[in-house]
Amino acid sequence: MILFALGIWSFLSHEALLRKLIAFNVMGGGVFHVFIAVAYRGDTAPPDPVPHALVLTGIVVAVSATALALALGGRAQDAADHD
């Protein structure tokens, strides 16, 4: 939760694309940790598999989003250089 809040704060407060992206990943990390914490079902029982599946999917999505954002950022930089 703290990671999530921290992520939102830095997402909103930073201008630079790279910082925003890192903040976004921190946010995502926060959410994923919540899911993993939810999976814990006591010391003896095996953890709930569903949240793990969700987190894996979520990480894939986050990685591709970051990639696209970086690509667009590069384009924006190029375009700005041309102007």
Binding site: L17, F24, F35, L54, A65
Partner: protein
């Protein structure tokens, strides 16, 4: 029968792969793929019409591990609207992107966008909604930046980041819900929440707030709309059409599900009122900015902010109306407004794109000759404009009529004031454009100048104005609502 649901997602996905593999034939394959997807959506619509809501489990895993899909009347209606708008846009795109190197990038992304939107509408659990929403956002941002101009890339980068922020916030809400109930399936979760009693109220409220705020960001609800106008106005015309008419509706669809289905038992009237007031602010502000906009596409984009506002104004009215025909009418009116806006705004953007290509710019004040030289396109803008204003015989006229009726019955007369202001401003901005078509330019030779791109836009306009306005009755049946009667 239940195989239909995955089909509606698989067909555009397959088509996206094909156009990637065979870029030389992209336009042809793209249109064929669009036609096939439309058929699949039509099949889903028919099945829902005949049998009511459908569900499907992929790979036989079942809840909770597998991916399950469902289609109710609401989803089927939006699915069908998406199909028609996307089909028209695809045909239009063959003309718009003819001889353009961008076509190679457009077609795969476009079909992928369509696939993810269909998957979103058919998703049966909250996590799938997240994944599809994220995919939708990625495709949309990539498409929006297709022109490659600095403005477009910058606006769409912002759009992407805002979208990521929104969907992550939404996901946090999902995580909270899962921690409280251990379920993600919407129907299942709705039962849990209704049965949950008081001890989970705090979690419910926190989750609903997080999810709504996240989605409101993606749906461009005032004051979280700031990213929309530049992103939509700078994209290529077919993309703007899809972004404004379809993609935004994806987020609105989830919000409506959350408020009217998932959290129906706990969402309070005062919370709904907040959304409604924000919607009203969006109507007024969006319409005002649309009136002041210097460019045609920017005007259309601001008008989207206003039109989305109307949809949110239904929420407090529905909350204040007891279950029964009157409430059914309000829900149907909400869907009808969403559909009309989808068709009308797509048609508007497509027509605006033609004007822009012809004139080389889309500054409203200098459009005179161009608008007059393209009667079919100007006609399209006029028809779509009258649907945006809410004039008869458009679907939004019925929507607004029912909204006013609901507002009077619920004693919430202030929505009528908003409706009045919004309608007059919409009339002002629409006719600001249309008045340019009456000048002293020479007479155009024929009505249609470029059939391939003008006809699809005109068809969308006619759907919004004629079909939805004069034959909206079946929508009630599709949504599974009783005949509204003399409510």
């Amino acid at each position: 029968m239940t195989d239909l649901l995955p089909l509606a997602v698989a067909v555009p996905l397959l088509a996206a792969l094909l156009v990637t593999a065979l870029p030389r034939q992209a336009a042809l394959l793209g249109v064929l793929g669009a036609a096939a997807t439309t058929l699949a959506a039509g099949a889903v619509l028919t099945a829902v019409w005949l049998n009511g809501a459908l569900t499907a489990d992929l790979g036989g895993w079942g809840v909770p591990l597998g991916i399950s899909m469902r289609a109710n009347g609401f989803a089927a209606a939006l699915l069908a609207m998406t199909a028609l708008v996307a089909l028209a846009t695809s045909v239009y795109a063959t003309g718009y992107f003819a001889d353009s190197p961008k076509a190679v990038h457009f077609w795969p992304l476009w079909l992928l966008l369509w696939a993810s939107l269909n998957a979103l509408l058919l998703a049966a659990d909250l996590f799938n909604l997240f994944v599809t929403l994220e995919l939708l956002g990625l495709c949309a941002a990539a498409l929006g930046a297709l022109t490659g101009s600095a403005d477009a890339v910058k606006a769409n980068l912002r759009y992407l980041l805002v979208g990521l922020l929104g969907s992550t916030t939404y996901l946090m809400g999902v995580a909270l819900l899962y921690s409280a109930y251990g379920a993600l399936d919407i129907a299942l979760l709705a039962e849990h929440i209704a049965a949950g009693g008081d001890e989970n109220n705090a979690v419910d409220a926190a989750a609903l707030t997080l999810m709504t705020v996240g989605l409101a960001l993606k749906a461009a609800l005032f004051p979280l709309h700031f990213w929309l106008p530049p992103a939509h106005a700078n994209a290529p015309a077919p993309v703007s059409a899809a972004l404004s008419a379809l993609v935004v509706k994806g987020a609105v669809y989830i919000i409506v599900i959350l408020w009217l289905e998932l959290f129906a038992s706990v969402a309070t009237a005062s919370a709904a009122m907040v959304l409604g007031l924000l919607g009203a602010a969006g109507v007024v502000w969006g319409s005002w900015r649309a009136l002041r906009a210097a460019r045609l596409k920017l005007m259309a984009a601001y008008s989207t902010v206003a039109q989305i506002g109307y949809l949110f104004m239904f929420l407090p009215l529905i909350a204040a109306t007891p279950p029964g025909p009157a409430r059914d009418n309000l829900f149907a009116a909400l869907v009808l407004m969403a559909l009309s806006h989808g068709f009308a705004k797509a048609g508007f953007f497509l027509a605006a794109g033609l004007v822009q290509q012809q004139a080389g710019h889309d500054r409203i004040d200098d459009l005179g000759g161009t608008a007059q030289q393209m009667p079919a396109t100007t006609f399209t803008i006029g028809l779509c404009g009258s649907a945006l204003i809410g004039l008869p015989p458009s679907g939004s006229f019925i929507g607004k009529w029912l909204m006013m009726q609901g507002a009077i019955e619920a004693g919430q007369w202030w929505w009528i004031v908003v409706l009045l202001i919004g309608t007059l401003l919409a009339a002002a901005y629409t006719f600001r454009v249309l008045s340019r078509a009456f000048g002293l330019e020479p007479t155009p030779l024929r009505f249609v100048t470029d059939a391939r791109s003008e006809i699809p836009a005109l068809m969308l306009a006619l759907t919004a104005v004629g079909v939805l306005g004069l034959a909206a009755g079946p929508l009630w049946t599709l949504l599974g609502l009783g005949a509204g009667g003399a409510a």
